[in-house]
Subunit: 369 residues, 2 copies
């Protein structure tokens, strides 16, 4: 079978690497001729809204997926007329607009931070008055890695932020003084079968994911059950097929859902070595209508992103249990160019290995900090 | 970096899949345009002794390895003048001739079954008289998967076997009434660093590997130490770089070494899911001069070869913890076209899963049995 993928970044690349084991072929559509997935499949270079390229992708593919959630919904719907597109284009549509997304969660009874759509200066002032400060002003669409958002502490901040980004549709969100950022990765098959990986605790810096720890100290069975219930509602409502990531804020054992990504997700990279079945393999299985694999955790694992600069391979690999994933992208300030997953027999051993690895990998962050 | 590989079968394919994680490129030389590694790297179609193709491979590669031990030694040596070839061509030379190989083991003090070189009918008669019956008559060169060998029970058998295969150089080996067939997988880096995986118990049928169980019930620390000592001597003597597999007969806690394969090996496929570092990743690390990874076992694992016919993917994957590897080769009687590794939290759970999987996978053997 041939799987078509909108987007040819590292997510598509790792998807193809998982699919190769089952002898699947991959074709990618990406506007960049340097898209890193070109090394593991066929790359068509073209715009995501070019109907000729989309038709060609559909012709070559038995099923189509996407690895980038800012693909135009119209393109996904266009493709869906020609070939199955998973996850369903509706998931893309919901996730692309923060207001639509939060209204969707609210309708399903899933708690989110308080929010207000903002399209004029007056609406911003009203929203600030209603939600209080601090609050976070974000673009409704096309934000990623902390881009297009700022925290407002004062009315002056609000005014300046409006001047800076007020030209596009915005959302104001009550600032959640959360204790932890977590994410729940889930997957649903064509038969409706669902699986959930253990909750992951995530650490961001400058808006970019830096570390993920599945089933960390903050994990409780109650939190897991709560997160799974939320994810299950979303999967069901969207008649979802594939991997879904939902980002959460956690405080006092309560969960507020922040946003979702209808695709494989950076906070699930640990699953390659750390779970019986990786998010990539289960996404492929879902696309092909195959039974989903177990999501149990294998030993103890942690994941560190490599951002901006690649450490010496030998320094990373000298740590027993460390696995270096190199994306084959040119290094650039703030760019994710790889990740390291470390696996250990005990929690204590994992902590020690992470302590060794963090300075080796974080050196790659030096340029940014 | 680009890694050149002589041979483009499933071993080369899985080598490339492991190397992709470190963003390595692969070029393969194989006489067949259908060589399955073509899906994960660039394939040059050409004979292994075609100097033009070999030169081209050397030009394109930073280092060269092989995944097939019947590559001509002269080709490996030719390449070695142009680029590093690992494992060293001498390892290839030793492993290609059963007499040279057993003399090599003997010189290192490594016990093997008694043997005699046989090149005339008179020599065969003398060898039978000396070693006794039953004994195994094999071609000295180019045997694999039980091809080119037969067990002799009577003098008549010997005479018939001579008529059948006496046209090439032969070896007669004393028949070892072993209790177990095992193999030890090891790896040595460019700095001399070595690692050993746990001993694997192997079950053959019709001369073809059917199942591998690492650290099975028959495993003891003493056997492991003995096997590692033998492997270490071979690695050291050959100034070896890369993965080496050694097949052993075990009886009463004693080991007789049968043969070696200077490459990644079918009995090491379980390491992809079942070891901290797979044989493929460690072979790549060795080629690149990187630190070797831990060879510890992850949970409990077993490996079943898929031979002749592919089971329904869904049947295999419905077993939690089962991982199906499809080689992308055309199915044919007696041909290895994939394997299944199953991983489980406990030994009991593994046994149960294997019991479920064996009939699913073995159906693929039906045509042969």
């Amino acid at each position: 079978m041939t799987i078509g993928v909108l987007g040819g970044g590292q997510l598509g690349r790792m998807l193809a690497m998982a699919g190769q084991t089952l002898d699947q072929r991959f074709v990618f559509l990406d506007p960049s001729p340097d898209a890193t997935a070109r090394h593991v499949g066929n790359l068509s270079v073209g715009a995501y809204d070019d109907e000729e390229h989309l038709s060609e992708l559909a012709r070559k593919s038995d099923v189509v997926t996407y690895e980038f959630e800012n693909v135009p919904v119209t393109s996904a719907r266009f493709l869906n007329e020609l070939v199955h597109v998973y996850p369903p284009p509706r998931a893309l549509e919901v996730s692309q607009d923060r207001v639509v997304e939060k209204e969707f969660f609210a309708r399903l009874g899933i708690p989110t931070p308080a929010f207000a759509a903002v399209s004029t200066r007056a609406e911003l002032e009203a929203a600030v008055a209603r939600l209080g400060l601090p609050a976070v002003l974000k673009t409704r669409r096309f934000g990623y890695d902390g881009k297009g958002q700022c925290v407002l502490h004062t009315n002056d901040d609000a005014s300046h932020a409006w001047d800076a980004i007020g030209s596009v549709a915005l959302i104001l969100e009550a600032f959640s003084p959360f204790e932890r950022e977590m994410s729940i990765l889930s997957v649903r098959g064509t038969t409706g079968e669902t699986r959930f990986w253990p909750l992951v605790e995530n650490e961001h810096r400058g808006g970019i994911l830096r570390r993920s720890l599945p089933q960390s100290n903050a994990w409780t069975p109650k939190l897991q059950a709560l997160a799974e219930a939320h994810a299950a509602r979303v999967l069901e409502e969207l008649d979802y097929v594939g991997v879904l990531a939902i980002e959460l804020f956690v405080k006092n054992g309560e969960i507020l859902v922040n946003e979702m990504a209808p695709r494989v997700h950076n906070s699930g990279h640990w699953t390659i070595e750390g779970s019986e079945t990786s998010q990539f393999e289960n996404h492929v299985r879902a696309l092909l209508g195959l039974p989903l694999g177990s999501t149990r955790m294998i030993d103890h694992v942690g994941m560190l992103n490599v951002i901006g600069r690649m450490p010496l391979h030998a320094d990373v690999l000298a740590v027993d249990g460390a696995h270096l994933h190199v994306y084959g992208k040119e290094a650039a300030r703030g760019r994710k160019i790889g990740h390291v997953t470390v696996r250990a027999k005990t929690r204590e051993d994992l902590a020690q290995k992470l302590e060794t690895l963090v300075p080796i990998v974080d050196e790659s962050l030096a340029a940014r900090d």
